[in-house]
């Protein structure tokens, strides 16, 4: 049986939320964000759970200061889990 820790569950939730939000915009957007994360920071979407600043910087590269709309969508989807410490940290950094 697969026993997931709280940290792993949070990571999965954050990953799925980011992917779903970007997919809503279009698959090429998700692909491009994933590619830029890897090119710039050698990281993948799940790593944004620990490094929300990477995601924030890539979104800023693509959409300028208007990345806030995407961040808002991610925040809305994760709102009910915001009490979890790691998700709270992710949301705090990405919204700064």
């Amino acid at each position: 049986m697969f026993d997931a820790t709280n940290g792993e569950i949070s990571k999965a939730l954050v990953t799925l939320t980011i992917e779903k939000t970007l997919l809503n915009m279009g698959k090429p957007v998700l692909d491009e964000v994933a590619r830029r994360l890897f090119t710039n920071y050698k990281c993948f979407i799940p790593d944004c759970h620990e490094h929300p600043e990477y995601l924030k910087s890539v979104l800023k590269e693509l959409y300028g200061n208007c990345y806030g709309n995407i961040v808002e969508s991610i925040k809305k989807s994760l709102d009910e889990f915001a009490t979890k410490k790691s998700i709270e940290h992710f949301l705090m950094v990405i919204s700064e």
């Binding site: 090429p28 692909d31 993948f44 709309n69």
Partner: protein, 269 residues
Amino acid sequence: MQTNLEKSQTKKYLLLSILGTGFIMLTANFAGQEVTNLTTNLLYVPVPGALVVLSIMIAARFSVKGEHGRAWIFFVGVAVSWFIAEQIWLVYDLVYQIDPFPSLADFFYLAGYPFLFLFSIYYLKPLQRAISKKTLTYVSLTAVTLLIPSVYMALDQNSQIGDFELALALSYPIVDAIVLIPALIGVILFFRGEVNFLWSLICVAIILNVVADTGFLITSMNGSYYMGHPIDMLFLWAYILFSFGVYSHIQIFKKHRPNIKSQSLDDLR
């Protein structure tokens, strides 16, 4: 990702295309009315044609899924409608040698506007939070203010043209004012530094197209319009700006070989 070199090359080609088109049209104007007419009509084949090809490419990249996907599908509608309209105009003007206004071309020109408006809405959706109610109000007021003189001019010709022609002449400033609202918002966001230049190119193209439409209305009403008039240069420049705007998106969201996303999910498991 578009590198800085690619970005500066795109801007260089954009400038060259604009200068090149301007040069061709000015040279043709010196060569006489017939050459101007032929050259301008022929320019309306590759320039809007390139836009159709590019818009189909970006729409195919996004498919119909997602907000961007829907936006680009609407944009294909604009490019195709206007391309058909330009070709109908060309056939009327060059082949039948009759005045193309009013004609089926107007139906296709006007059909492009609802698509353009819907495209702008979806295109600006990711930037929605940056658009304040105040900006929206000012922009709407500006669009309505610009609409008034154009409508007045069209109505002033009431006695000289029929009801159908008048309705058509009135339709253009109205639809222009509607599409001007999202276009002005896009340009304001660019000047505030919130989006990059290439993002705002499509909005600049819409504004240029509105300016060209107004110029066309004025010159047509006072009888000074002829095919190849400098106003046509604005229409062609608008198509070029649209094309480069679309091209920049193709560059940003082009396909890359490695599937990084699936690797990342494997890592997580």
